[in-house]
């Protein structure tokens, strides 16, 4: 097949192109066949095992067929809260196959997927790269019928969302849901102002301005941005890189989606400013695969910036500052939001985190000093440069300067993004979002904390509730155990599997939690959950395992009564294995009662 050759051979013979090659093959064939694995390996001078390693690491790649069309239905908790179960059933009935399978005619594959960044408009799905939001069973059936009738997914999107979602290059049904515009990100910004201002300063002055502003990283970790840039600039190396982390994968977060849609110029200005500050010539935007629908839009903004001499050679009349930005795509892996895993992925490998030291500012992208910053951090940095450190510092609190963009979803009447000043209480946020009466609020997504009403007076800032911005509201009727189970399933699915505590520990925690949730737990089991959770946190290699037990640990703390009520108090040992249930089917067939019931569980 000469065509097959083209799709692989058109890529450079560089292992860094691996994910791009696989993406093309997957898009065309709905899988990566053994034959394709061999050809890719030969073209890039990799071993076939290596190629298989990359294909099987990423959720949107597959060795087995995924169907001529593929439906990825979001499996996050907000999706479930908004009716995912019925939608999933409709998909299954209409296709005649189950999730995880491909329909008998090979036309449609159904697969679950982790949060796709649409928590404010669930249930949502990605069908052949096209995002469908606010699904219901009827819409699900219509999509399948449409695909069967030969109508491409994109042509099935009839009504577009607001703002630039309607633009010719996006054409998405996604809604922005911008509920509160703050002064930093949504303040009036003169295009190019940040770059021109930077170009008139020395790089050291730019770094100093960011340092004085007190800007802390917006991705969740809260590292001082100016300091990161300074560390990076100080490293002696042939080249340096700016990498923008646009891989927001924490369930419940979608604020970067809105920035990428509505404020890409501001974000790119931030990258250019960072590049100027650290002495880089290249910036890389690592875009999560779920947001691939924004890529043509982002590419066109980059083209505009080149036309405006804000990218390219001798930017903004600086005389010597050359800088350009390339976009790299992920392929479905939460772990790639971890900065060193992101770098591995950007270099075309499995997204497995690196050991630190060396830190990315020392050895990052292509082993060169690299500053990896969140989308929101870079956009904010651009605004700080224009408005000044003092202006920024006057916003928020003493330790947490500025504003934060929050993604609010779940049981609230106004889900969407809110640019708030740091120091806002959870209660005030709930009032804004129409979520009063909540039973619990998940601050920072599954890796953050689950807060009970007693904690609603707590503040969203770096000294109390630090968060990347995912806020999920749970109404009075929600089952905390179902939520925790969903979050733990997420971590089990998204662990990269490199280190023991995260790979095995999360599975063991999930099983132990399930035992408790099924009413088979003892006081000892609750102690185990606590001890094992701390073990996984303490010994895991990266941020994923260091936070993955949080759904269990923070609900144990916030809702001790719920756990107490679920366990068998005073009983020393209750087996996990329910013998009566296990033999039920056999007993029913033999028309008799399980005899073991008494002795084991009652």
């Amino acid at each position: 097949m000469p065509q097959e050759k083209d799709i692989i051979l058109k890529h450079p013979k560089d292992p860094e192109a691996l994910l791009d090659v696989i993406r093309d093959v997957q898009a065309r064939d709905g899988r990566v066949s053994d034959d394709a694995v061999g050809r890719i390996a030969a073209h890039l001078k990799l071993s076939e095992a290596d190629v298989r390693g990359a294909v099987t690491f990423y959720h949107f790649f597959s060795l087995a067929p995924r169907g001529a069309s593929t439906v990825y239905l979001n499996d996050s908790i907000t999706s479930r809260m908004k009716g995912r179960t019925a939608v999933a059933r409709a998909f299954e009935e209409e296709t005649g196959c189950r999730f995880g399978e491909v329909s008998a005619d090979g036309k449609i594959g159904l697969f679950p997927t982790s949060c796709i960044g649409m928590s404010d408009q669930e249930p949502s799905a990605i069908v052949d790269g096209v995002v469908f939001t606010a699904l219901n069973p009827e819409k699900a059936r219509a999509i399948v019928r449409g695909l069967r009738a030969g109508t491409p997914a994109q042509d099935q999107v009839v009504a577009f969302g607001d703002g630039l979602n309607q633009s010719e290059l996006v054409r998405a049904m996604v809604a922005n849901n911008i509920r509160k515009r703050g002064p930093v990100l949504f303040g009036a910004h003169e295009p190019g102002a940040a770059v021109r201002k930077a170009a008139a300063m020395t790089p050291e002055q730019v770094i100093d301005e960011i340092k004085r502003s007190g800007l802390l990283g917006r991705g969740g970790a809260g590292f001082p941005t100016g300091l990161k840039w300074e560390f990076c600039r100080r490293e002696k190396a042939p080249q340096r890189f700016v990498v923008c982390n646009a891989d927001e994968g924490e369930p419940g977060t979608f604020k970067d989606r809105v920035i990428l849609t509505e404020l890409p110029r501001l974000l790119f200005e931030g990258m250019i400013v960072a590049g100027y500050a650290i002495g880089a010539k290249t910036g890389v935007l690592y875009l999560r695969s779920e947001y691939a629908y924004l890529r043509p839009h982002l590419e066109s903004v980059l083209a505009d910036l080149r036309k405006d001499k804000l990218l390219g050679r001798k930017i903004a009349g600086s005389g010597s500052f050359d800088f350009d930005i390339v976009i790299k795509s992920g392929a479905g892996a939460y772990i790639c939001g971890e900065e060193s895993a992101l770098l591995e992925s950007a270099e075309g490998r499995r997204g497995e985190p690196r050991d630190r030291p060396p830190f990315p500012v020392q050895k990052g992208y292509k082993d060169q000093p690299t500053t990896v910053n969140n989308v929101e951090t870079l956009a904010t940095a651009a605004r700080i440069l224009v408005e000044g450190a003092a202006w920024f510092k006057a916003l928020g609190t003493a330790q947490s300067a500025g504003t934060k963009l929050l993604s609010v979803s779940g049981d609230c009447s106004r889900p969407g993004v809110y640019e708030i000043e740091y120091g806002l209480t959870v209660a005030s946020l709930l009032e804004m979002a129409g979520g009063t009466g909540a039973k619990a609020v998940q601050v920072g997504g599954p890796s953050g904390s689950c807060i009970a009403p007693a904690g609603f007076g707590r503040k969203i800032d770096f000294s109390d509730l630090a968060t990347g911005g995912s806020i999920i509201v749970f109404g009075p009727d929600r089952d905390i155990f179902e939520i925790v189970a969903n979050f733990m399933d997420f971590f089990v699915e998204e662990s990269c599997g490199w280190c023991v505590p995260c790979r095995a520990g999360n599975v063991l925690l999930r099983k132990k939690f399930d035992k408790v949730a099924r009413g088979l737990g003892t006081e000892g089991d609750l102690r185990d959950l606590e001890t094992w959770g701390k073990l996984v946190k303490a010994t895991s290699r990266c941020g994923l395992g260091q936070t993955s037990p949080n759904p269990i640990l923070t609900t144990l703390k916030s809702f001790p009564d719920l756990y107490e009520a679920r366990i068998r108090k005073g009983e020393e040992f209750v087996p996990d294995f329910d013998l009566a249930a296990a033999v039920q089917a056999g007993c029913t067939a033999a028309n008799r009662q399980p005899e073991c019931k008494e002795s084991l569980h009652d």
Partner: protein, 234 residues
């Protein structure tokens, strides 16, 4: 060369600049248990058994370089229990049947379990269904016994640098795959090395086995790590 001074459990030690805690400890006659670490290979920090505590923070001693004045906690009871937990996790996440394993007595996982006096794991067995790949001429890969230490991934490569072993899948499904084309070209010596590099019995030389009698195996007479500790008081 300037020497770095640091302590392990209060004992004064010295290290060379850039030396990892594990290597420096070894040079000072202190054993920090390791499984994924292997001399000459870039550390992977995958098993986490070498976890130590410095100023209240946990870190893998195999990847962390020593810094001046560092006070390393190595044998605190809670730390040792964490290590034992990790060893137990490895036993329940795979299918380890020591009595019939060719590596018994030479197995580092088994050695660690003995050293940590593991009787039965605190975790429930997961009994995963794993496959054996015996399609390669000189070797067989038994994934039941694999601990995903990545020593083979790091240490066994073709002459042109391509990886013969690689990780596939992710999370709990992660497993090692052998590249059949490249592995077919392994020499007798390279195959032997692949088996030796594996700390457990996951990579075995085909058609030969159980050559060492009981009593002559690596850990038959003294627990794993004893060789390092003999240096104490030197």
């Amino acid at each position: 060369m300037t020497e770095i001074r640091f302590t392990i459990d209060g004992r004064a030690c010295t290290a060379k600049p850039g030396q990892t805690i594990v290597d420096a400890a070894k040079a000072n006659g202190v054993y920090i248990p390791v499984l994924c670490n292997y001399e000459g290979l870039k550390p992977a920090g995958s098993c986490r058994i070498c976890t130590v505590r410095v100023a209240g923070r946990y870190m893998a001693a195999c990847t962390q370089p020593v810094t001046e004045g560092m006070a390393v906690e190595n044998t605190a009871p809670d730390l040792e229990d964490m290590r034992r937990s990790l060893i137990e996790m490895l036993f329940v996440e795979g299918n380890h049947l020591c009595p019939s394993c060719e590596k018994s007595g030479n197995c580092e996982l088994q050695g660690l379990a003995y050293r940590y006096r593991m009787l039965s794991p605190r975790f429930p067995y997961l009994w995963p269904v794993r496959t054996v790949d015996a399609t390669v001429p000189l070797l067989m890969l038994d994934r039941n016994r694999c601990v995903q230490c990545l020593r083979c991934v790091r240490g066994v490569t073709a002459r042109d640098g391509r990886k013969i072993f690689a990780s596939v899948e992710r999370g709990a499904r992660v497993t090692i795959e052998v590249d059949k084309k490249l592995a077919a070209r392994l020499s007798e010596e390279e195959a032997r090395r692949a088996m030796d590099i594996c700390p457990v019995g996951a990579i075995l030389r085909k058609e030969k086995g159980f050559a060492l009698p009981i009593g002559k195996r690596k850990f038959d007479h003294a627990p794993i790590g004893s060789d390092i500790e003999k240096g104490i008081g030197r």
